[in-house]
């Protein structure tokens, strides 16, 4: 069984994160290396959807953590 409500937060060295949310409440936040495979796996396994890394990257929200400890902000 898979638990789908998981957050993966792995900031890249420059502090930029990507965020993708699903209509079912699942969300992933992290570097592209983390977010892209997680989104593709979630979409295929849980919702029977296919996609490409390029589509995930094109539609992900860019999140910037300006300083350690601060809440990330969404750049759209």
């Amino acid at each position: 069984m898979t638990s789908l409500h998981e957050d993966v937060v792995t900031p890249s060295p420059d502090g930029e994160l990507l965020r993708v949310g699903c209509v079912c409440g699942w969300e992933v936040v992290g570097s592209p290396d983390v977010v892209v495979p997680a989104v593709l796996e979630h979409g295929q396994k849980i919702h029977n959807m296919s996609g490409t890394p390029e589509q995930v990257l094109a539609n992900a929200e860019r999140v910037v953590v300006s300083e350690a400890g601060q809440e990330p902000t969404v750049r759209g």
Binding site: H5, C24, I46, N48, M49
Partner: protein, 164 residues
């Protein structure tokens, strides 16, 4: 096959809306990998909808006891096929679960669909349909435990209600 766009927003011409239901002692609960909520699955052009739902439920949750197609409607810009999937208690694990309340049905007009349909109404309809099948269909009856059949007796049909 539909593609991922706008983050993940399940879309496509045909969707399955799966209600994963289990018997918790003496009442029914809704669960699933998306929590205690409808589980939306895109359906492709080739695989039969029942086979697709069965396959994906087996892969993600475990082997279902019953996969029952209950109704359809137009929503989310798609045709939505609704399924009640019965699972054994041992498959619930860490998935969110919540008791299923009762709801008024979304009733059609004589020649038109209901103006709006909530998911509580869809599952109410599905369980009433299963209640009827439990007494009429040997396959459905055999798939359900005595506890399940007892709970479904409270979902009996109300044949004259829509005519009053």
């Amino acid at each position: 096959m539909p593609t991922i766009a706008n983050g993940i927003d399940v879309e496509g011409p045909i969707l399955a809306e799966v209600f994963v239901v289990w018997l918790n002692t003496d009442h029914l609960e809704l669960t699933g990998p998306c929590g205690a909520a409808p589980w939306m699955i895109e359906l492709g052009e080739v695989e039969h909808p029942v086979a697709a739902v069965d396959r994906i439920v087996r892969d993600v949750v475990g082997p279902p006891l019953l996969v029952h197609s209950t109704s359809w409607r137009r929503d989310h810009g798609a045709v939505v096929l609704s399924f009640v999937v019965v699972i054994d208690e041992e498959l619930v694990g860490a998935m969110e679960s919540a008791p299923i309340g009762r709801s008024e049905l979304a009733r059609s007009e004589a020649t038109a669909a209901p103006r709006s349909i909530g998911h509580e109404q869809v599952i109410e309809h599905g369980l009433r349909h299963m209640a009827w099948l439990a007494g009429d269909d040997v396959t459905v009856a055999a798939a359900l435990s005595a506890g399940w059949r007892a709970v479904l007796q409270t979902y009996g049909p109300e044949p004259f209600r829509a005519l009053g």
